[in-house]
């Protein structure tokens, strides 16, 4: 297909989900109809994203200047390999979580389907836009329906918990968005543009530009949930419905991480003299979060801490900023999103079925629900980094890159955190799956329905497939890393 035509279709990734959402609100469909529109629409979204990825995977970025304005005035949509990969990844996670939500009846809420579609539009816009201010707008577009979902899609946790979690969630995100806007304002005031390509390499140009860039990076880091601003993640994520927790873990923090990768490499030029501070923050994130996970008593809370710890690994690749490290970081981003979502979904299936949150209240699942045990075990091994799962490939690539970069502290921290991750996951494994089966008087045999564990199983298999056949993704990640370090093709595509 001619790239002009593909380019002109880029805004559809945002427009179609929003129109579908409006249609679902305006036209009263029965619950099954809404869910069918949601799942089919998301499947079409993922298919289109995959087509886009295959088009741009090795070629130059596809750019569309909305309204066909001249390059220096237009607000561009840019689909390079990184953006398209993120589009596929986030779309696939949304689809899987939507299927889980349908299976767990979370999607019965009348507004569930439209809200998820608007989130999809926001995420697509955020990964495709080439404009800093539009990044802010699309992140807000992603967050506004999320606020409603936190309230709507509760799970038997009481009004009190719903409200408290939502209050923290909304307040932190509003504050962070304000911060992001301040950064964008300072950048516009000092550098005179908010076009990411036009800003390439200029983030450290003047005092004002550095200040604005650091504020933007800080805002994105808070949205990603790095220490010391990780509290809101671990305080709110466990309180949502498992389908929503999994969805948010696969989308929100990852979009922030994508923004960090893009901004830090293209605009901030890889940090330069700031890289020491970045490495310190990342290392502290990993250690603090994994130690926090050891003290948690609830499955989803443990996983929320691991979410923060894994973000540390992903951002370690960015902080080191060598081609090998960035490759490992991008690979880690993909693998950890898949693995993490699988873990959230399998734990969610257990919680929804047994109605228990605290570790130790449910035990002996290995005998009763062996499939669930296998799915959780596979995803857990993948997260720790045991071959043949994808985690092994990702961690070897990352640790090797850190060693080559001479960052032996990062190597030690990564290995230590991996061991502590194993300890923490063994705690969960022991509490849930070993021991005597609980509540024998109520049922015999398997309790967790197949359709609840199927989404997590698909993702666990994907983690295994990425571990055995990860070479194509590694090559793609390497191509992406080269594009991040030398964004000449990106800049040329946008500015012409």
């Amino acid at each position: 297909m001619p790239t002009d035509l593909v380019g002109a279709a880029l805004p559809l990734f945002v427009a179609v989900p929003i129109l579908l959402a409006g249609l679902l609100v305006g036209v009263r469909l029965p619950s099954a109809g809404r869910q069918a529109v949601l799942v089919v629409g998301l499947a079409a979204h993922v298919s289109a994203s995959a087509l886009l990825l295959s088009t741009v995977a090795s070629g130059p970025p596809i750019v569309h200047r909305v309204g066909l304005w001249p390059a220096e005035l237009a607000i561009p949509f840019v689909a390079d390999a990184f953006g398209a990969l993120m589009l596929v990844l986030t779309g696939a996670m949304t689809l899987i979580c939507a299927v889980f939500a349908v299976a767990s009846r979370t999607a019965d809420q009348p507004f569930f389907a439209p809200l998820v579609l608007v989130i999809t539009a926001g995420v697509s816009g955020a990964v495709l836009t080439g404009d800093l201010f539009n990044l802010f707008v699309f992140v807000e577009l992603m967050l506004l329906p999320s606020y409603a979902l936190v309230i709507l899609a509760h799970w038997g946790l009481g009004l009190r918990m719903q409200l408290t979690a939502t209050r923290i969630y909304v307040a932190v995100n509003l504050l962070t968005s304000t911060l992001l806007l301040v950064g964008v304002g300072v950048i516009y005031a000092t550098l005179g543009t908010v076009n990411i390509a036009a800003l390439a390499g200029r983030g450290t140009e003047s005092v004002g530009g550095t200040l604005g860039s650091v504020i933007v990076i800080a805002a994105l880091a808070i949205k990603a949930g790095t220490v010391p601003a990780h509290g809101w993640v671990v305080r709110t994520y466990p309180h949502m419905s498992p389908a929503i927790t999994a969805l948010f873990s696969g989308l929100h923090t990852k979009v922030a991480v994508y923004g960090l990768f893009r901004f830090y490499s293209v605009v901030f030029d890889g940090g330069r003299e700031w890289s020491g501070a970045a490495l310190a923050i990342v290392a502290v994130s990993m250690v603090v979060a994994v130690v926090g996970s050891l003290g948690e008593q609830h499955g989803l809370a443990v996983m929320s801490f691991h979410l923060v710890a894994q973000l540390g690994f992903i951002l370690l690749g960015l902080a080191l900023y060598t081609p090998a490290a960035l490759t490992a970081g991008v690979f880690y981003l993909v693998y950890s999103t898949i693995t993490k979502t699988s873990l959230f979904l399998s734990l969610g299936a257990v919680e929804l079925t047994y109605g228990r949150r605290r570790l130790g209240q449910v035990s002996g699942l290995l005998r009763r629900d062996p499939v669930t045990a296998a799915v959780f075990g596979a995803a857990a091994l993948s997260m720790v980094g045991i071959p043949p799962f994808a985690g092994f490939v990702a961690k070897v690539a990352l640790v090797t890159a850190a060693w080559d970069a001479g960052a032996w502290v990062a190597v030690v921290v990564a290995l230590l955190v991996s061991v502590l991750t194993l300890v923490s996951l063994l705690q969960v494994w022991g509490a849930l799956f070993l021991g005597e089966p609980t509540a024998d008087e109520y049922a015999e045999g398997t309790l967790i329905p197949g359709r609840l564990i199927a989404p997590a199983a698909v993702l666990a298999i994907a983690a295994l497939a990425l571990g055995i056949g990860g070479e194509p993704l590694l090559q793609l990640a390497s191509h992406i890393a080269a594009g991040l370090i030398d964004p000449a093709a990106y800049v040329k595509g946008v500015l012409g």
């Binding site: 807000e140 009004l159 409200l163 109605g355 228990r356």
Partner: protein, 154 residues
């Protein structure tokens, strides 16, 4: 200089209010903060050029930069929407706007996973015992206002 001082004052007041306990005060803090950011965005386009950017014969040295104004319009809409949502959050739940966990919990029903399955019976018999917002609550404590008071949770 005046605009810088105004922005600084609004930021200071906003941060002060956000650090208060009640959610309503926090919301007022957010309103002040968003005003500060809007002023900052307007100032980012330069304040000396004030002619309306309409028409064809425009002098770049006197015409205002329209881009920051578009930024501000967008930012106002978003901040307004989220503020209204926060206000709703502050009034639901026994009319208590405190950010402490002092709302009376109301048990929500579990979604039925399988209507014609014994899981339903299992659910009914085994409602989650941990309703509490804090995860560290012991699970055998019945979730009644009395019990919350006994445990010292307001």
């Amino acid at each position: 200089m005046a605009i810088a001082l105004t922005i600084a004052l609004l930021f200071g007041a906003g941060v002060f209010m956000i650090l208060r306990r009640g959610l309503l005060r926090v919301i007022v803090g957010f309103v002040l903060l968003s005003h500060a950011v809007n002023l900052l965005l307007v100032a980012s386009g330069g304040l000396s050029r004030r002619d309306a950017p309409i028409g064809t014969a425009l002098d770049p040295s006197t015409t205002a930069d329209p881009l920051p104004q578009a930024f501000v319009l967008t930012a106002i809409v978003i901040a307004f929407a989220v503020t209204v949502f926060l206000l709703v959050l502050s009034v639901v739940g026994d009319g208590d706007d405190d950010t402490e966990l002092s709302l009376e919990g109301r048990a929500m029903e579990l979604p039925d996973l399988d209507e014609d399955d014994e899981i339903v019976a299992f659910h009914r018999a085994h409602q989650p015992t941990n309703w509490h917002a804090y995860l560290d609550r012991t699970d055998d404590t019945p979730d009644t206002p009395d019990a919350s008071e006994r445990r010292g949770v307001r």
